[in-house]
Amino acid sequence: MVALEMIDRSFIGLTSEPREIEVEKGQLRFFAKATGESNPIYFDEAAARAAGHPAIPAPPTFAFSLAMGAPARRGDLLGDLGVDMAHILHGEQAFTHHRIIYAGDRMTLVTRTSDIYEKKGGALEFVVQDTTLTNQRGELCVEMRGVTVVRNPQGARG
């Protein structure tokens, strides 16, 4: 019988190195287009300023995209955790918003792998990761928690 390849539980508690990523105006415009956004503050600088923003704001879920754009060398699900891209599903996602992220910001991200557990005799594994996003002024902008579900197609053990 083929042994299940489970994720190494010693990754629990691992904190990534801090990674930096710039928030680019062009990408925010692309994101607005790709989501069918009609509110011009999300793609037009003049509209954003008229609404009281210093620059184009990143919409609420964009923090997740920043994390996807800045994978960690240490504690990355598809990297050193060794999870197969073909087996993942998004289980849960949560955001706590402290300050808006804007075009031109340079964000520092740190991710902690908070938990790894299984259900259905190992047929499903769950990876809980918490990420903080802090801007160039050292202001905490977003805390996010994601749960990724990993399917182990070999099925349950035993």
């Binding site: 609420p60 289980g91 996602q93 949560a94 918003h97 808006i100």
Partner: protein
């Protein structure tokens, strides 16, 4: 679209947010969202890869529907008023789905010196499948221009 016209002082339990409908989600929409959102998981992009992975065909990113829920929330209240929100992805959103995002105020309460609303969130496909389910906490203090005190 101008700043939200909602008067936050009138928000009460039972209020429904206007539904926000998007779709049908095409292969093109998935390709663009993959690029724009930095999510290059091939299950959403490449039909051959998705088939070999046993998923039948490409399917939508859960985060695409979460972005749609964000649009519903930021059409109702200023983005700076969104304090916290969480969703569970309860079913895969298939190709060609039309997604309806809905929200209902469950309660208003006071926390950290401001009045807030707890909003129940759902996303459903045109087949009636609930794909996202969760809650948002929204601050209820902003002025006529949509400026939130601590934004």
């Amino acid at each position: 679209m101008s700043p939200p016209a909602l008067d936050p002082r009138t928000v009460a339990a039972g209020d429904r947010l206007p539904d926000h409908v998007r779709g049908p989600i095409t292969r093109g929409a998935l390709a663009l969202f993959a690029g724009a959102s930095n999510d290059h998981v091939l299950l959403h992009i490449d039909s051959d890869y998705a088939r070999e992975a046993g998923m039948g065909d490409v399917f939508a990113h859960g985060m695409l529907s979460m972005a749609y829920l964000a649009q519903m929330l930021t059409s109702w209240a200023p983005q700076a008023a969104l304090r916290h929100w969480n969703v569970r992805f309860t079913a895969i959103t298939p190709l060609y789905a039309t997604v309806t995002c809905s929200g209902e105020v469950l309660e208003t309460f006071d926390a950290e010196g401001e009045r807030r609303a707890r909003v129940k969130l759902h996303a459903r496909t045109d087949q009636g499948v609930v794909t996202l389910e969760g809650e948002a906490i929204v601050g209820l203090q902003w002025d006529e221009d949509g400026r939130v005190g601590n934004g």
